[in-house]
């Protein structure tokens, strides 16, 4: 009887690269890599060849040239004498502003309507369903334009506020003016403000100069210190509760700790509200929330909120019914059950798809161009590209910005996800 000892020794044959499973995957990967590299090389070479044929070069020098155009909404100092790079920065901040505001409002709307859609009240759950299906199934661009058109067409123009018997009047005790150019709201001002510090980097970052209000820093610092003290008070209250079983009343102490220093500080700085006033063609004073910002913000939030509502509903449904029953058995009322038992567990299911909704919202904000909101796509990717003729560079830079922003958002959200997810030890 012979036993099977060695497999017959044979030299490596070329056909093994295809027929031998040990080598086949390597073969396929090598071929795929070569093809991809070849495609990229072809694309790059073609770009260079076509740019040469058009007589164009690839340079980012235009970012340092005078832009020559004005931007209406700017969070940092900018005028037409500033550079294209600075204009891009203004656009970037506008994108971040609308994306940040949008993510917050979309989350709030999404959670509310997601929970409402599960309501046992027929009317409430149907209304939530109408909202979700209505916004989810109509293209975002239409919502943006529709909301903007409604805001422009149905509100009075500043002229209507003028005269003996004005057609329109200001709302909320003459504090807020809602016009077809946007809402003018009171702005916080300080009679004895501490001024600004100018931060001015050098070199290639020379365009990144900006002013920071010292008032704001002081207020934020005070708030942080107050919150730390509140935390201390709560820790101590918990200690007392653990020792004696009776929790001391802390709410008024906490309230005092938060409110009193801020109030004293604001009084010291001479805080007052600057009201918008009609002067010349427009309202002056106050903060001007432009219709383009409001419409874009609302449309993005309502649209993404509809998707988030579905994610929230799915997350809540994913929590076992036994959890609710157990909570009820312990005597928790429905809203506390939702807040303390269901939502924290649902969060683990909700967060990952929520990340991609935040990314969608941020990228969708580039539709701003449709209503003239000056985001990075409109400044760097629009006017600058058009005035300088640097299409390739401009679009690549805008693409790079969105890529980095999306990666930053998903990194942040992944970190948050790691913190709330089920810890398995």
């Amino acid at each position: 009887m012979t036993t099977l000892t060695d497999t017959p020794k044979q030299g490596f044959r070329l056909s093994q690269l295809i027929y031998d499973t040990r080598y086949r995957s390597i073969t396929i990967q090598v071929i795929a890599t070569v093809l991809i590299v070849a495609a990229l090389w072809w694309l790059a070479r073609n770009t260079v060849a076509n740019l040469t044929a058009l007589g164009k070069d690839f340079t980012l020098e235009f970012l340092g040239n005078r832009s020559g155009y004005d931007i209406n909404q700017r969070l940092i100092a900018y005028d037409s004498n500033a550079t294209h790079g600075r204009a891009a920065l203004v656009g970037i901040l506008n994108t971040l502003l609308v994306a940040g505001l949008g993510c917050v409002l979309a989350t709030i709307l999404g959670v509310i309507f997601g929970v409402l859609r599960l309501s046992k009240n027929w009317i409430v759950s149907r209304l939530a369903a109408v909202y979700v299906e209505g916004f989810r199934n109509v293209p975002l661009l239409l919502w943006i334009i529709a909301i903007f058109a409604v805001m422009t067409e149905s509100t009075p123009s500043p002229r209507d506020f003028r005269g003996e018997n004005p057609v329109a009047s200001m709302a909320l005790a003459d504090n807020v003016a809602i016009t077809n150019r946007g809402a003018y709201i009171p702005e916080p001002l300080f009679a004895n403000g501490l001024g600004d510090v100018e931060i001015k980097p050098g070199g290639v970052f020379a365009d990144l100069y900006f002013n920071v209000s010292i008032d704001l820093i002081v207020i934020l610092l005070t708030l942080v210190v107050s919150l730390l003290v509140v935390k201390l008070v709560n820790t101590r209250a918990a200690d007392i509760q653990n020792a004696t079983g009776v929790r001391p009343t802390t709410w008024w102490v906490n309230l005092l700790i938060i409110v009193a220093p801020i109030a004293a500080l604001l009084w010291g700085l001479g805080f007052y509200l600057g009201k918008p006033e009609l002067s010349g063609f427009n309202f002056s004073g106050g903060t001007h929330l432009r219709n383009s910002l409001l419409a874009l913000w609302l449309a993005l939030s309502l649209y993404t909120g509809a998707f988030i509502a579905e994610i929230v509903r799915g997350g809540i449904n994913a929590v076992s019914k036994g959890q609710t029953e157990a909570a009820f058995a312990l005597g928790l009322r429905p809203n506390r059950t939702m807040r303390l038992v269901i939502l924290p567990q649902a969060l683990r299911v909700i967060i990952p798809p929520l990340i991609s909704q935040f990314l969608n919202l941020t990228k969708n904000s580039s539709l701003a161009i449709a209503i003239g909101y000056m985001d990075v796509r409109s400044t760097l990717g629009g006017i600058t590209v058009n005035q300088t003729g640097r299409e390739l560079e401009g679009i690549l830079l805008v693409g790079l910005f969105y890529l980095l922003l999306s990666l930053a958002i998903s990194t942040g959200m992944n970190w948050f996800n790691d913190r709330v997810k089920l810890k398995e030890r």
Binding site: A49, N50, L54, D70, S80, E153, R181, V385, L392
Partner: protein, 339 residues
Amino acid sequence: MKKSIMLGALAVAGLTAASASASTLDDVKARGKLNCGVLSGLTGFSQPDANGVWEGFDVAVCRAVAAAVLGDSTAVEFVPLTTQVRFTALASGEIDILARNTTWTFSRDTDLKLDFIGVNYYDGQGFMVPKSLGVTSAKDLDGATVCIQTGTTTELNLADFFRANNISYEPIPIETNAEAQQQYLAGACDVYTTDASGLAATRATFEAPGDHVILPEIISKEPLGPVVRHGDNEWGDIAMWTLNALIAAEELGVTSANVEELSAAATTNPEINRLLGTEGDLGAMIGLDAQWAVRAIAAGGNYGELFEKNIGVNTPIGLARGLNAQWTEGGLIYAPPFR
């Protein structure tokens, strides 16, 4: 709009290698159609009529070029473009010629690698305001909200004008003339600024044109003309001399009515003969046949006819010839000799 920018960027990125290399004339002949970039809608300059046929003063330039090159003034594919994407569309080869009241400037001609082939309308930037505002001068516009088309020279002029006069304004950026009109009429902006001809054309479409005034200040020079890509000089010559043929035809008294008759046999005027191909071979010098100019003129008429038909004093737009009269009439319209 977004699509064409992306298409343009992709094309520049190298997916269409053909555009930059082959000759535009060959491309157009092979295609049997001229791709012409126009405004997406400005009465008198370029707008589709009730049957969807594009017509207007800028459109006529493309029709003349198509007639000269292809022998058919209807063999034109009109591509409506916004101010922002027009140059990208041209650079990427999406269109062969851009006739979209575009201002001839140094940097566009050189840095943007475009070639302006002439001027078909001498314009300047103006301001339109509702009469009820009681504004009589552009210098009274301190603090006004201004509707402005993005990616234009007017945008830069506006910034310079307000800066030079030390007054402030709030720009509302918009994409198209129609959008500007809607915003302006809704009162979302106090002022609409663009080329004076565009203002007149826009005002002509209002329900009550008399309620709006165009302020006296003209704050810039805006020589508007058709544009081709830099580098293909044969194609540039064809477009340039087609425009010049229309201008020369007016000067020489050749109209769409009499061009057939004048080109049938040599006339006593040698310049008319050279233009219409009954003497010499100017057509062959630009790679076309002898009848090229005859077809271009027959397509819609000479420069003066096109002006009167589309934007002249007898149209709702009612623009006087002014600077755009022939040089013999005291204007700036002047074609080099056909010789």
